[in-house]
């Protein structure tokens, strides 16, 4: 079949509203449901550009454009409703990052795909509030940034400073945040304000390979590198006073801490192991996909079940990891302000996961169905009164934490009823790359990037400065546009905007 032109490809895309487009069946072979993407005009042009380049080079070489990936996911066995792309979507391994796909658990053919979760399983964001204000922090900003840097191990190959034995790791993999609470690294109240209460109950450490555990053991309680960070942020704007006040955020200028991190080498290894075993399962069960990267296995198969049990362990690991860093951040603040973290009101506002697959109940064509919802680069955003969100947020909807990129702003959103019906209760996760990592390395100079942060009054501590330009704001989409699109589309609601005062990175 001859490659289609860009104009021909565009014929498959139809506009519903200014923020919502459909990718109709036929865009790629075997689509079982349509695709849908949420973008505004500015973000749309980025997707078009990608698709145009792909067409111009005759559908060969380079990476698949995100829209094609979205449609390929719509061709996976067992998918229901639609394959959804959020405004921060960009190409990833198999699935685009910023893609939601729900598989029908009652369909024996339905699959689970590690590509739909991502390599950094349960990568996520947590926000800790304080009762400090910008005026109190400004004078000690550098000292505070240094204290965080001195407490939290960061960077490629960094090792944790919380003593952990192999037995501890096994327990942590099984118990998740319950382990942190038991050992005293976490406050009891933290657990309430964490997605899944910080523990996936189907975790089975015996399904995690020795290699994965070996990678995970020394890294527990480390931030890692890449786009992960710990930031001291200040509340810049409050859009929804009532909801923000439920979260303990009640004034502009209030200081918060955001931690963005995941399951480190352990999660990566779990994903790699699963991809290998699933390739075999695919040929055995005769599962066909449009893209080799979309390796998957039937949910009910041994490979599928093993992956879900191991993924749950990696998710638990990531929560323990974020809890340990919360413990360290609380210590750093306590040291600088000479008050205990209780006095500083350092409560967890919420903790979200944006790389995970979970079994949830949703209404599909008026019928309640059990679905395996893959969220890759997408955050769960449940509406008010959903039974799975904490009692404190029953009237506001689930808080959704959107981490910006180094030096730009971050947001707190809340889940909406419309999001529940349209996107399986999901919204965006961050800015999303506009520029690939290698492209960024070629075009940006790290000294320039660091200098521009300093000129904005942001303290920065980086373990590997040369990797900074990969994460520079210029490499990413504008997070405000991403968030505004989700707000306008109604799939989540803006609540608070934060800007950074200090950044600690790998």
């Amino acid at each position: 079949m001859a490659a289609r032109t860009f104009e021909e490809e565009k014929g498959y895309i139809s506009k519903e509203t200014n923020e919502k487009y459909w990718v109709n069946e036929g865009f790629v072979p075997n689509m079982k449901v349509p695709g849908v993407f949420y973008v505004n005009d500015g973000l749309r042009s980025l997707l078009d550009e990608e698709l145009q380049n792909y067409c111009d080079r005759g559908n060969v070489g380079g990476f698949l454009p995100a829209v094609k990936q979205l449609a390929n996911v719509a061709a996976l066995p067992g998918i229901v409703g639609k394959s959804i792309a959020l405004p921060d979507v960009h190409s990833g391994y198999g699935f685009a990052i910023g893609n939601v796909a729900a598989m029908d658990m009652s369909d024996p053919e339905a699959v689970v795909s590690p590509g739909g979760v991502g390599f950094d399983i349960n990568c996520g964001v947590r926000l800790i509030r304080t009762n400090l204000t910008e005026d109190q922090v400004r004078p000690v900003q550098e000292e505070l940034a240094q204290a965080l840097f001195d407490h939290i191990p960061v960077g490629v190959g960094s090792q944790g400073i919380i003593p952990t034995t192999a037995k501890d790791l096994e327990e942590a993999l099984e118990m998740g945040m319950d382990w942190s609470v038991r050992e005293g690294y976490s406050w009891v109240e933290d657990k309430e304000h964490c997605e899944e209460y910080g523990r996936m109950l189907n975790a089975d450490p015996s399904k995690v390979s020795k290699r994965a555990k070996k990678r995970g053991l020394p890294q527990m309680g480390t931030l890692g590198a890449g786009n992960h960070y710990a930031e001291i942020q200040v509340v810049e704007e409050i859009f929804d006073t009532a909801a923000a006040s439920r979260m303990g955020i009640n004034r502009v200028g209030q200081i918060c801490i955001m931690i963005h991190s995941g399951s480190r080498g352990l999660g990566h290894q779990v994903a790699t192991d699963a991809l290998t075993s699933m390739e075999k399962a695919m040929s055995r069960d005769g599962i066909k996909t449009n893209d080799r990267q979309l390796a998957c296995a039937r949910i009910s198969s041994e490979e599928g079940q093993n992956y879900l049990a191991a993924m749950a362990c990696a998710a638990n690991y990531a929560w323990v990891n974020r809890c340990s860093m919360t413990f360290l951040a609380r210590q750093a603040f306590a040291k600088v302000f000479k008050k205990n973290p209780d006095e500083l009101d350092m409560h967890l506002v919420y903790d979200v996961s944006h790389n995970i697959a979970k079994i949830e109940e949703h209404l599909v064509d008026g019928e309640i169905k059990q679905l395996l919802v893959h969220r890759k680069g997408s955050t769960r955003a449940f509406p008010p009164h959903h039974p799975l969100i904490p009692v404190d947020y029953q009237f506001t909807g689930q808080p959704v934490l959107i981490g910006g990129t180094m030096g730009t702003c971050s947001y707190v959103l809340t889940g909406t009823k419309q999001g529940m019906t349209e996107t399986f209760g999901s919204t965006c996760h961050g800015a999303g790359r506009a520029r690939s990592r290698s492209n960024a390395r070629n075009k940006l100079d790290y000294e320039q990037v660091l200098h521009s942060l300093k000129s904005k009054g942001i303290s920065i501590r980086v373990a590997s400065p040369k990797l900074v330009m990969e994460e520079a704001p210029e490499s990413y989409k504008d997070v405000t546009q991403v968030v505004d699109t989700c707000h306008a589309a109604g799939i989540s609601k803006k609540c608070v905007k934060l800007r950074p005062l200090a950044v600690v990175k790998g």
Binding site: S158, E189, Q331, P384, V391, K417
Partner: protein, 242 residues
Amino acid sequence: MAASFGLVLRALGYPGSPPGQGSVGQGSEEFRKLVSWLEDTKIRLHKVEDRGALRDHASEAWPQTFEAYATALECPFDASDGRTLGWILNYALGLEYRDNAGELNGARAKLVGDERASTRPERSFGDAEGARCAELANEMASALGVPTGQDAAKILEAVERAAKPLAQARMEAGATSEVDLAALPLGFTTGDAQVDSASLVMRSLFIKDLRELQSVIDETTVGVQEYTANPKTDAKLGRVGR
């Protein structure tokens, strides 16, 4: 006990001296006088001609008379119980109120009306000159950093001036404990506004219960942490700071 008797006796308009703290017992003259006065003027359980025994304060048989009287009133306590007099007093007070409810309620409505109409609501304290009030005013004043040592009313005015902006700031920050129930999302609609309001109230109460349950669970877990938690760090294990 004696103090609360005093208030009830004042309300009932008792002319005699109240049974003092030491003599609260049916043996005392004051006690017997009070009981017969209550029967004569408020309770009127027996006909006038049948009240002689109760009025015979000096009689040795008075305790038996009193016992029979308490039983006749269906008092839940034994005549010898220290709580019996209190019960009889309250019973009398209830009768007094029933007789004069219209008048008393009218007086209250007038008082409240006056309070509302008053241009100086800060003086609505019944006894702003009282010692206890002055003490509380001083306490508030020192908490707010307002100079003390003047008369209570002036201090209170200053306290009000100092507290208003603080309260205002809290209100603006949305930190009030009172929430506008109607502004909360119900999550569904029944099509009937009244049923919706009732559902919202029930939902709020349910969430309040849930919060209390969660707090109990948290407290219990914190108790367990006392035995299990021992967090530690060892900076030598990894490399931090550079």
